[in-house]
Amino acid sequence: MSIEAAASSLVVGVLLGGIFSLTALGLSLVLGVMRLVNLAHGEFLVLGAYAGYYLLTVTGIDPLLGLPLIAAAMGLVAAPLYRFLIQPLMGRGVEAPMMTMFGLSIVLQNLYTAAFSADTRSIETGYSALALNLGPVTVGLVYVMGFAISIGIVGLIHLLVSRTAFGRDLRASAQDAGAAAIVGVNVPRVQMLTFALGAACAGAGGTLSGLVNSFTPASGAAYLLNSFAVVVLGGLGSVLGTLLAGITVGILQSLGGVLFGDGYRDLVALLVFLAVLIVRPQGFMAGRG
């Protein structure tokens, strides 16, 4: 494996890592604020990909321009879904909401197969095959755009969480829901909005993933595990932590690809995830609990 080859695939790793941080952000927020494992997160990403695909094929709007539309639509769908499906279960321990999301992921996966057929799809735009030569490294234009947009959105969310009133309410509810309620924060509403925000991020992340590689109704499981690797590495609910972790996972994957062959990319990310999960078993739950 020559130097240029290794360099280009590492750069691709970083760029993909940027997108991973956006796809994982939704899972991190929901886990951080509500201790809810959204096992349907993978299916939200796949829905984002299909949204981008059909937006382009039906209306011709470029997926990148359509991102805000997709994100908003996903948020609007997610809020009532949370309100009626998950909120009543929130008081009953951890298993009930988790299993419900698991059931939801099965239902969604099969709705996609029925609605969009099982064919492999990828979002094809004019620029999706263009390459950028930056010295020895050549990288797909669509990776760079995906990276830039992801970093932009993650930055926006970071500002929202750290600077705005809603951000304060969100972090207060995450850290001590009881005290936040007493101080006047409408905690159930904050949780619903956080879930919607997470779904919106998943929508945008899904569209970008659909742009950079192909997807099928069954891609949700792989996306979920990838997002989990990022969340566990990056720490619960911390936006910047998720960004750094996303890029790290991207680099690890391309390293795996370079050293062992592309077949081992996902395997490397999984093994890292298992290692971190086992080394810091209570690390994250207690860290924020």
Partner: protein, 315 residues
């Protein structure tokens, strides 16, 4: 206590009778029904052992497929490359499941709740990717059994034998002291430790026993197919179907797995032409169970007669 003992021995008798009935079935039933029966028996073994793990031990695992896949590969590998008789090979497949559980336990069993669940999912996916990538195990081509699989009737008898072992293990784990330790660790691990229970060992015992039974079932599935490959044997479908059946049937109840298997398999056959609809229905049933019947159909069956009697007698 005597009354309970009598009830249990009657239970055993009925159990043996029912299993004998199932064993004889292939001779009586048409081939298609026997195939359904075999699939149900395998699914029941998986559901019972998962119920032991999650229902009684509180270890909600999404890693069923790793044990099933490993059992399948060990069985086919041994049958192809050794002269060991079938029963010994099935036992070896079961042991491989227990060994997998033991190897994974130092890491996984320290995790609690959600993190254990996600840990098992990641382990199953990692194992699947290894089996796909490593060509020594046949890579994506998989392995072919070098002999014709035994006749359907023989397979049913083996499955009945495996189910008997599973039910005995469950009966032991649900009614003896072991069940106390299991339920103590499930309800409140810290207090259990305070009572002298060693949580890690109890969880390891349940995890190893369940994985062994699942691996044996995986071996039987491989024996039935004659040809195995990683996508099928290590597919996530095993974990999802097993979990769905037990949750719909009744997590942590004795009758849950049986009811769940019958319900999901029957609806599967009725909706054979619309596979997506069947899976979506299973997912929906799971969500409804979680929301309205945490004890599943078994829980409802236990409660309904009482509630119905209450309503009719105006109590």
């Amino acid at each position: 206590m005597a009354r309970q003992l009598k009830a249990r021995s009657a239970g055993f008798a009925a159990l043996i009778l029912a299993l004998a009935l199932l064993g004889v079935a292939p001779a009586v039933l048409r081939e298609y029904d026997t195939q359904i029966l075999l699939r149900m028996l395998l699914a029941l073994v998986l559901a019972e052992s998962w119920n032991l793990l999650a229902g009684y031990g509180g270890l909600v695992s999404l890693g069923t497929s790793s044990a099933v896949g490993l059992g399948g590969y060990v069985l086919v590998g041994l049958l192809n490359h050794s002269i060991l008789p079938l029963p010994v090979v099935i036992l070896a497949a079961a042991l491989s499941g227990a060994v997998l559980a033991a190897l994974a336990s130092p890491g996984l069993l320290r995790l609690r709740g959600l993190y254990f669940t996600v840990g098992t999912l990641a382990l199953a996916e990692a194992l699947r990717l290894v089996m796909i990538n490593v060509n020594q195990f046949g890579g994506a081509t998989g392995l072919f059994l070098n002999r014709d699989p035994p006749a359907l009737g023989a397979l049913v008898w083996i499955a009945v034998g495996l189910l008997l072992v599973t039910l005995l293990v469950m009966e032991f784990c649900a009614h003896s002291g072991v069940s106390l330790l299991l339920r103590a660790v499930r309800d409140d691990q810290d207090v259990a430790a305070q009572m002298g229970v060693r949580p890690f060992r109890v969880k390891l015992a349940a995890f190893a026993a369940a994985s062994a039974l699942m691996a044996a079932a995986g071996g039987l599935q491989a024996l039935k197919l004659g040809a195995i490959e990683p996508y099928g044997m290590f597919g996530l479908r095993w974990s999802i179907d097993t979990l769905a059946m037990v949750v719909i049937g009744g997590l942590g109840t004795r009758a849950g797995p049986v009811i769940g298997v019958v319900l999901v398999m029957l609806s599967g056959e009725l909706l054979a032409d619309y596979p997506e609809a069947h899976l979506a229905l299973t997912g929906l049933l799971m969500m409804l169970a979680m929301r309205f019947a945490p004890r599943g159909v078994a829980g409802l069956l236990a409660v309904l007669p009482a509630r119905w009697r209450a309503r009719t007698t105006g109590a």
